[in-house]
Symmetry: C2
Subunit: 363 residues, 2 copies
Amino acid sequence: VGILADVIDVLGRDDLRGRIGRELAAFLTERTAELAEISGDLGAVATTIRDFVLDGGKRLRPAFGYWGWRGAGGAAASDSAVVRAVAALELVHACALMHDDVMDGSATRRGAASVHERFADLHRSAALAGSPASFGRAAAILLGDLTLVWADEMLAACGLPIEAVVRARPAYDAMRTEVMAGQYLDVLAQAQPSVSASTALLVARYKSAKYTVERPLHLGGLLHGCPVALLTCYSAYGVPVGEAFQLRDDLLGVFGDPVVTGKPAGDDLREGKRTVLIALTLEHAPPAGAAVIERLLGDPLLDTAGVQTMRGAIEDSGARRRVEALIAERLQQGVAALAKGQVEPEASAALTELAELSAVRHA
Amino acid sequence: VGILADVIDVLGRDDLRGRIGRELAAFLTERTAELAEISGDLGAVATTIRDFVLDGGKRLRPAFGYWGWRGAGGAAASDSAVVRAVAALELVHACALMHDDVMDGSATRRGAASVHERFADLHRSAALAGSPASFGRAAAILLGDLTLVWADEMLAACGLPIEAVVRARPAYDAMRTEVMAGQYLDVLAQAQPSVSASTALLVARYKSAKYTVERPLHLGGLLHGCPVALLTCYSAYGVPVGEAFQLRDDLLGVFGDPVVTGKPAGDDLREGKRTVLIALTLEHAPPAGAAVIERLLGDPLLDTAGVQTMRGAIEDSGARRRVEALIAERLQQGVAALAKGQVEPEASAALTELAELSAVRHA
């Protein structure tokens, strides 16, 4: 989260963050009215989606979508239609997070109660019949579904010419299929006795890199009608830079300062995440080090001493250094590809800064 | 299910059922190839969605969509693009069913294992780590999400002119919001200590009538560019007829012959469904009859004698007769509205037959 605060500053040019938030608020206000016409009992649904979408979120995907548009020659001040189109990505992401929390059974999200917990609370405070947990899960599944269909509606009705939206749809469609596929591969990887670094990297590519960086850039570029060469350039930048983001996130999940990350130290270790970092540790550690990891990984009661022991084993295996090298390599590769492409200068500068920020050590 | 077998015969004109199935198969073959390119591990995802969509389903929503098109003057043999467009509704429905089974914890669907059970089995047979049930639920949530986004993709790429698809989108969007809202209201109703007949009817309207009949008719009509008067006529037919379908379903869930319904006798009573039938029973039964219902409703171990006792209380309260009257009233209303509208004759005949079939007593 720490690193991303800086990222947002870069993405905040053109008051982008504020504009995205305002477009989302306006769209959700219309949807709230639509639900209210059906039944007053839908008030909690509308309010929860609204709070979830507006109270947090780094707007990273809309921002890449916007710079994809700008990079293709789209005007900064042109219109709110582009901002509306890319803001739709935030609704896809809200669905992914709501459903992810149900799948993981996570009680919190962005420091507040997760959606299923909010509805379990509603169930308890209204003394309803049946299980609060089941009610909460059912509500969160439906709210996620609703947010996903609204995303689609927001993109379709963004106000750009129909042909622009139709032209950009392949990127949007690919993004949605890829993130669901990546999420499934992640769930499957977490259930394996062991995961290779290449599998962990494949998950990161679909679940994070293509979803967060490459496809949003494509969407923005296609909305402006960019040539294929620019899409190729965006891929050559977006995939490695997106992977670098995820690899940095993996390092922060283990070595990150809680003050910077906003999460307890070693949280990923307690959750037992099968990241590239863990895979590389197990591939290179001596038997004793590997045994430490296998024994402690995923222990929900892992204490500070346990976190320290695991950090030592990871460090000693050379995995931390290897991941830093992978990040540096990807950063260089992405920025070089960007420099070679025909990206409009201001966008190129913003995207270069973003990539570099992703490589800063915050631990 | 029994009544719907007849319904399908009517809807089978123009080899509609076969054509819908073939369009879905072709679309899913393309998506399977797309997933296979990402990872071989996605084979189970593709196969399960394919089996789920192709092995069963009454194709009721695509069929109403098709007759909506025909009723507006669309040609029978014109093209497969219309069939592709309306077949997308079947994918929306597949998502709704997969997610519904997760929410209810239902182990079976259409006589086979539900999607989350299939993935729990996969987890067990591959001896994966963690809980098979959690893995199954996560997979079913993601498969539903994927099917929902594919629906959208199938409609957008159906091959009709872009303007036709754009024109029809409001019906499609309304349908998706309404079914999610209806599902939430249903979950909420099931958690109430008591539900009024008017609330139960509101749930039936959004969850079933508008979703299954009215909006698919609108979608088909709008794809052909029908006038507003025809949409009004479709609503005046579709809402009451769709409610009649649901009310008949409620009666079958309590009084239906297992041979006809394909479900154990009194299944809705065991599940504790708060239907219009139950609401009317509780509103009109003498205290002793109401007490029987309150005591036995939702008892998962309810035996044949218990089902008989409850049937007696429902019958004695006059609720069965009242629901039959509501069905007859809605049927008459819907058919009269259809006759007054400017619906193309063959479509009008098919829709009239469908409405009448919905009123046949199969118990």
